[in-house]
Symmetry: C2
Subunit: 382 residues, 2 copies
């Protein structure tokens, strides 16, 4: 709800097109088509937020090696396309009267790509739209472009890293402030409200998610803040994210203790922190995402803690889980400019213990972008 105060834009037309053209050449494509809101943002400079609630209202960007990329959008999004996008080759369609795929077909014909190799997002395109596209362009060869866009977006621009890092640090600080002001007797809801208010004061625009639970509430399916009052001896866990600089996301998890700290709570917390620091130290250029997962799993095993997480973290940007993902089957090699949320958790005997940090991969190793305070020591809410 606040104005964008970024001085330099996180993305530029020139840098994005250079990346896209390199991929078009490397994959011998005649056209590369973006369709998901994240990839349309990346290639056009504007994000159709309404697609979150109305996914059928497609936006599409078709890029070739020489032409000005074409932007197919619903005329309801006219202002976004004309005033916020860096694209000039605009093709609006009228919702319900026109089929977005038919307009894309016209565009691909004009671009001379209708009998060529076309990269499309098969993870995002619906079966019905893809069927229509193939039927309308029987001579075209369709290539899965998901890995291409994943690669393009995985390396963040310096401005993206600044925005994401500022958002992560402000989210962390808001959690710390709320935990500092919290006290036994206060409800989960009251702590959550302080957290959101503090994040908004620091520039957070909209709430993305807020998990906040005291004690055994952390085991509930819906670990959202409720009317339960904090009491001495509780473990308090939050996983909190907001939207910043219009499109970028934050996602930070922290754990603290109400009133006092039991020795076994201290031990569990420090084990989790040790796993986190061991894993962070392993994150550097040349290491595979799957290796990071394995190193984390090993650290859990050495700490004698059961480990069953399908993933331990994820890329982040304008989508909450961006690739690469830190799971056993993602063999992407870490490179400088990648940004990860690393979030191991322990199912303790009194609740979930969870920590989540933003890690930037640098030329020489990594940088933690999300610690506004000392979380290595368990925080006791007094």
């Amino acid at each position: 709800m606040t104005e964008d105060t970024t001085t330099k834009p996180p993305l530029t037309r020139a840098a994005t097109l250079a990346k896209a053209h390199a991929e078009i050449t490397a994959n011998r494509l005649d056209a590369l088509v973006a369709a998901s809101p994240g990839n349309v943002y990346y290639t056009s400079g504007t994000y159709f937020m309404t697609q979150k609630n109305i996914p059928e209202r497609l936006g599409l960007v078709s890029i070739t090696s020489d032409d000005d990329p074409a932007f197919v959008y619903c005329t309801i999004e006219e202002g976004h396309a004309t005033q916020e996008s860096w694209l000039k080759n605009l093709r609006g369609y009228t919702e319900f009267a026109d089929q977005p795929v038919d307009v894309l077909v016209d565009v691909l014909k004009k671009q001379g790509a209708d009998r060529g190799r076309i990269g499309v997002e098969k993870r995002f395109f619906s079966a019905i739209d893809f069927e229509r596209l193939r039927n309308r362009l029987p001579k075209a060869e369709f290539v899965d472009a998901d890995p291409i866009f994943d690669r393009m977006r995985a390396i963040k621009t310096p401005e993206e890293i600044r925005i994401l890092g500022d958002a992560a640090m402000a989210t962390d600080a808001a959690i710390r402030v709320a935990f500092t002001e919290a006290a036994a007797g206060m409800t989960e809801l009251a702590v959550g409200e302080m957290m959101v208010a503090e994040a908004k004061n620091r520039g957070g625009e909209k709430l993305l998610h807020l998990v906040l639970a005291a004690g055994a509430n952390g085991f509930k399916i819906h670990a959202e803040p409720g009317t339960t009052q904090l009491k001495s001896g509780d473990v308090l866990r939050t996983d909190f994210g907001m939207i910043w600089s219009r499109f970028y996301l934050s996602d930070i998890a922290r754990t603290a203790f109400v009133g006092r700290l039991e020795p076994w709570q201290d031990e569990t917390y420090r084990k989790l922190e040790h796993v986190q620091q061991t894993t962070i130290a392993a994150m550097k250029p040349g290491v595979k995402a799957s290796d990071v997962y394995r190193i984390c799993a090993d650290a859990f095993a050495r700490a004698g803690v059961e480990f069953k997480m399908p993933h331990i973290g994820h890329g982040i940007g304008v989508v909450i889980h961006e690739n690469p993902m830190l799971h056993p089957f993602d063999h992407t090699i870490l490179e400088p400019g990648m940004v990860f949320m690393l979030e191991p958790a322990i199912r303790g005997r009194d609740g979930f213990y969870h920590t989540e940090d933003m890690i930037e991969i640098t030329e020489t190793g990594q940088r933690v972008l999300s610690r506004s305070a000392d979380w290595a020591t368990p925080m006791v809410i007094s």
Copy 2:
């Protein structure tokens, strides 16, 4: 964030399965597969909210004419599947290690449907998942199940209508309260905050969308509340929705005037209200959705107002735009138990004029569920 206080559940296993079995028979299907969060909710009783942020984390329900329906879900959603669903035939998959489509293929084989006619949501299934499904089941015939689920969900249960009606009425009342407490000099943000707080007091759980703009701000792309102060003579427009009873949505638009009412503002407002009432009167069983659109377009023409809206309204439930839609190409015949949001708008010379009501189709005609106050007379904020 509040507990569900509904006494009778909005959906029941028996009623949903009866609808599904009738469709399976009528369409000679061997299996009917739900995949989108809305249809998985409808057929399982639980909603995977995380799919809004993480769409790849599929939930799938496969229904046959005799078996217990099978529920394929990510083990991260274990609690939802085991404690919140009415399904007992559960098949969890481990994210990244398993492919949800492969688990569905196993299920369809066990159900004996792997060589039969299978209804799938082609609007929701991704091209890559559908390709995998077809490759794994080459003998199966795949039928587009989107119209089937649309029909099932279009007729709301009495409990759904009660929840949706209460939510619409409370949203309307929250707007009225905020407009009543508003005054010249107050910012759009302050009015919006009063609106959200009032809706939360009345049971609204989470903000869905909040458009709120004074005067020419209504023409902006991002008509979200900002630091602009209301001033005498402004038209003030809002389009506001929240989440209620955990999964159901509200969506109400209203227009008012700050300080005084100019004659031409009064005229524009009354034209819009006349269009609204004319269209409402035409909404009854037997009339087509496209006819409702045409009647509204005619009313605009008779009022001498330019009309370019691609649609004038939509079904609503657990998804903001549910079918039937009130547009020229939707020829669904209105039936008792359908619920629509009717939302014509006028681009006035000083801002947007917008009104939106919830209309239930009854046996004999229709009922307006969203007017907590007299909106026929233009409201002047003093």
